[in-house]
């Protein structure tokens, strides 16, 4: 049985220009055999959600280092719900304090990786937690 390839959107939302992590993770996902769409910088939450739907991705991976995570993660999740696409999972990474991770998970973010997380660890997590939506 061969599972369809996972399709992941790596997104930068808001004005944050720190793209070192997003680019590394996009490349690591690609090298791990996933299909990857990278949004590029300075996207609005709407733009990210629209791209995710158009590209029919299985999950959105957001990278936020600007301190605006408490705004931007929930906004993306809200928009996915509004558009009936809440089967697209959201996870991400950045400089996010522990207490905020708890709140973000309650808001529906599946996982948040912080500095020091390895590519291997993140890829492993994706393999066991993200399922292709095209299976059902």
């Amino acid at each position: 049985m061969s599972e369809p390839k996972l399709r992941l959107l790596v997104g930068k939302v808001g004005l944050d220009g720190h793209d070192r992590g997003a680019k590394i993770i996009a490349r690591a996902f690609r090298d791990a055999g996933f299909e990857v769409i990278y949004t590029g910088l300075h996207q609005t939450a709407e733009m990210v959600v629209n791209t995710a739907i158009q590209e029919d991705v299985d999950a959105i991976s957001l990278s936020i280092l600007s301190g605006a995570h408490n705004h931007l993660f929930p906004k993306v999740i809200r928009l996915l719900e509004d558009k009936g696409a809440n089967d697209i999972q959201v996870f991400g990474g950045g400089i996010v304090p522990d207490e905020d991770i708890v709140t973000l998970k309650k808001a529906g973010v599946l996982e948040v990786f912080t500095p020091g997380a390895s590519m291997e660890q993140i890829i492993g997590w994706v393999r066991s937690n993200i399922r292709s939506r095209r299976l059902d």
Partner: protein, 562 residues
């Protein structure tokens, strides 16, 4: 003395070759070395031993090393270095509202800091107002929110601008924020000639690394040359551009790439100034540099020494600058934020100390030491104080400042300096052959080189080739809890309210007239700075001034390079 030493006459090798064949070979036979290859954090291979021979027959101690305060300044730009004047301890600060940052400034000044350094929030850095849709959740988060000159007055309230030097870390809208600073000076009755400080204003590294842009490179260069021309005439003590490698390194470049891309940016600014008809010796002395200091101690020192030598030769030989002041590369150093770990954060104090010491031994003019909690959040007061104390301990307890350039003549340091210089020059040549750094940026060249280097480094930390203590070695589970600084959302709400108040009170006719003159000037060749100054005096916002030029200059769109 051991028994063996008494009976075996000590051997003396005459050269490195002989030593390798005899003394070393015997040792290697008894036991190998811990690694097959040794290399710097940037993966520059490091040889076992450097000797005079490694400097090669072409190395000329007078020509290549020289003496401090003399061309090519390898040993430093001042004859007395820190015996004469200590480096400026300049801690970058800014968060929340102008009033909050003003209080942090006053605290830092009271703690013995000697210069101010302003961090702006992301919307301000991108030329957006606090009430812009894209600004949501970001107002006052990573720096101070500045919308109009009213905020700027609050930021410097009670701080006499003729007594402090101020560094402002802003690029795409740098000219607008600088005009606001000028307007505050007018308000305080301080004449422009007395103003001292630095505007980062380095747009080229934005396209390469930091990614905070508005317009495409070429029109952006016009604003910069206008500012250089304006300052040359009216604000002569102001450093107009701080040509920055810092962000290039933070984006994941190697030390050599940081040096090469930064100097290539410098070359482009000098060329632009010359092309705009400004006398090189009038503007070049006001250009300064800003480098990163990462973990690899000698690599950083060598990079800084090589930087001075390359720049001196570029300015004198390539551009024909006549004055010594134009040949001297002055620079600010900041310790490497990207080297800090969220795990076992107190370890970062040690990293910062080593990095800061490299900056000092590399001959920096000013220094920012990072706070140990920066991989977790904005720095707390305690962390900021420890960071400043680190500099004070280096300056006043370690003794390293008592002599000028103590590492000069070290076979290893001189050899590494030569090597980094040579590799940086190769890059610079390659960029020149593409038509300069702007053309190289347009084809994504430096962006790609950095993305590759940063991916390689990430792989090396994961396979254990490169050690990060507390992350991939000596890992501990309980990291403990740190008190962190939080900027709550009320900052944004209040800032938007203040902006609405300013907008309601201002004279809209005067504002419109100022913005439309600015737009018209952009279509022609007039210097834009006096017109921007008029606009900010009329309480135009950062966003309004930046937007006024978009119809003429366009917006930059990046093609992402993975």
């Amino acid at each position: 003395m051991s028994e063996q030493d008494e009976h075996t006459p000590p051997r003396r090798s005459r050269d490195k070759d002989e030593w390798e064949r005899t003394t070393l070979a015997e040792q290697l036979e008894r036991g190998g070395e811990r690694e097959v290859e040794f290399s710097t954090v940037s993966s520059l291979p490091i040889e076992r031993l450097a000797t005079a021979e490694d400097l090669g027959p072409d190395w000329d101690v007078e020509r290549d090393l020289g003496l401090p305060g003399e061309y090519p300044y390898t040993r430093g730009i001042h004859p007395t270095m820190y015996r004469g004047r200590m480096w400026t301890m300049r801690q970058f600060a800014g968060f929340g509202s102008a009033a909050q940052t003003n209080a942090r400034f006053k605290y830092l000044l009271s703690q013995g800091q000697t210069g101010l350094s302003t961090a702006f929030d992301l919307p301000t850095l991108m030329g957006r107002d606090s009430d812009d849709e894209m600004a949501e959740g970001e107002v006052g988060k990573e720096g101070v929110a500045i919308d109009t000159v009213v905020d700027m007055k609050r930021l410097f309230d009670g701080i006499p601008l003729d007594k402090v030097s101020t560094s402002m870390t802003i690029n795409a809208p740098a000219a607008v924020v600088f005009c606001m600073y000028l307007a505050v000076a007018e308000d305080q009755g301080v004449s422009f000639e007395k103003l001292q400080g630095t505007l980062q204003n380095d747009i080229l590294k934005e396209y390469i690394a930091q990614k905070e842009w508005i317009y495409p490179p070429r029109p952006s260069m016009r604003i910069i040359t206008d500012l250089m021309a304006f300052c040359t005439r009216h604000v002569p003590k102001w450093n107009t551009i701080s040509i920055s490698g810092y962000h290039i390194r933070e984006a994941g470049s190697t030390a050599v790439q940081e040096l090469a891309f930064t100097l290539s940016d410098g070359i482009a600014y000098v060329q632009a100034g010359i092309d705009a008809g400004i006398d090189i010796d009038a503007f070049a002395p006001r250009l300064s540099f800003f480098f990163n200091s990462h973990n690899d101690f000698f690599e950083e020192i060598a990079k800084m020494r090589a930087a001075r030598r390359i720049w001196a030769r570029v300015m004198r030989e390539r551009f024909g600058a006549k004055q010594e002041r134009s040949w001297k590369l002055r620079f600010h150093t900041q310790t490497a934020g990207c080297s800090l770990t969220a795990q076992q954060p107190l370890n970062n104090i040690v990293r910062v100390t080593v990095q800061a010491l490299a900056g000092v031994l590399g001959g920096t003019q000013s220094l920012h030491t990072d706070s140990y909690d920066e991989a977790l959040a904005l720095p707390s007061d305690e962390a900021v104080t420890v960071a400043l104390r680190t500099q004070q301990i280096l300056a006043e307890e370690s003794g390293v400042i008592h002599t000028v350039d103590p590492l000069a003549g070290s076979y290893f340091v001189e050899n590494l300096t030569n090597r980094i210089e040579r590799e940086a020059l190769d890059y610079i040549e390659r960029i020149d052959s593409m038509g300069g750094i702007i053309a190289a940026i347009e084809r994504g060249y430096p962006q790609k080189e950095i993305a590759d280097a940063s991916y390689r480094y990430q792989q090396q930390t994961e396979d254990g080739t490169k050690t990060i203590v507390g992350v991939n070695k000596y890992v501990k589970d309980d990291t403990g809890k740190l008190e962190i600084l939080r900027v709550d959302d009320s900052v944004g709400i209040n800032q938007i309210a203040r902006l609405a108040e300013v907008k309601a009170k201002r004279d809209s006719d005067r504002l419109e007239a100022a913005l439309s003159s600015l737009r018209k000037a952009a279509e022609g060749d007039d210097n834009l700075i006096p017109l921007m100054l008029d606009a900010v005096r009329a309480h135009a916002t950062v966003g309004e001034v930046c937007q006024a030029l978009v119809p003429v200059f366009g917006l930059y769109q990046e093609t992402s390079v993975l």
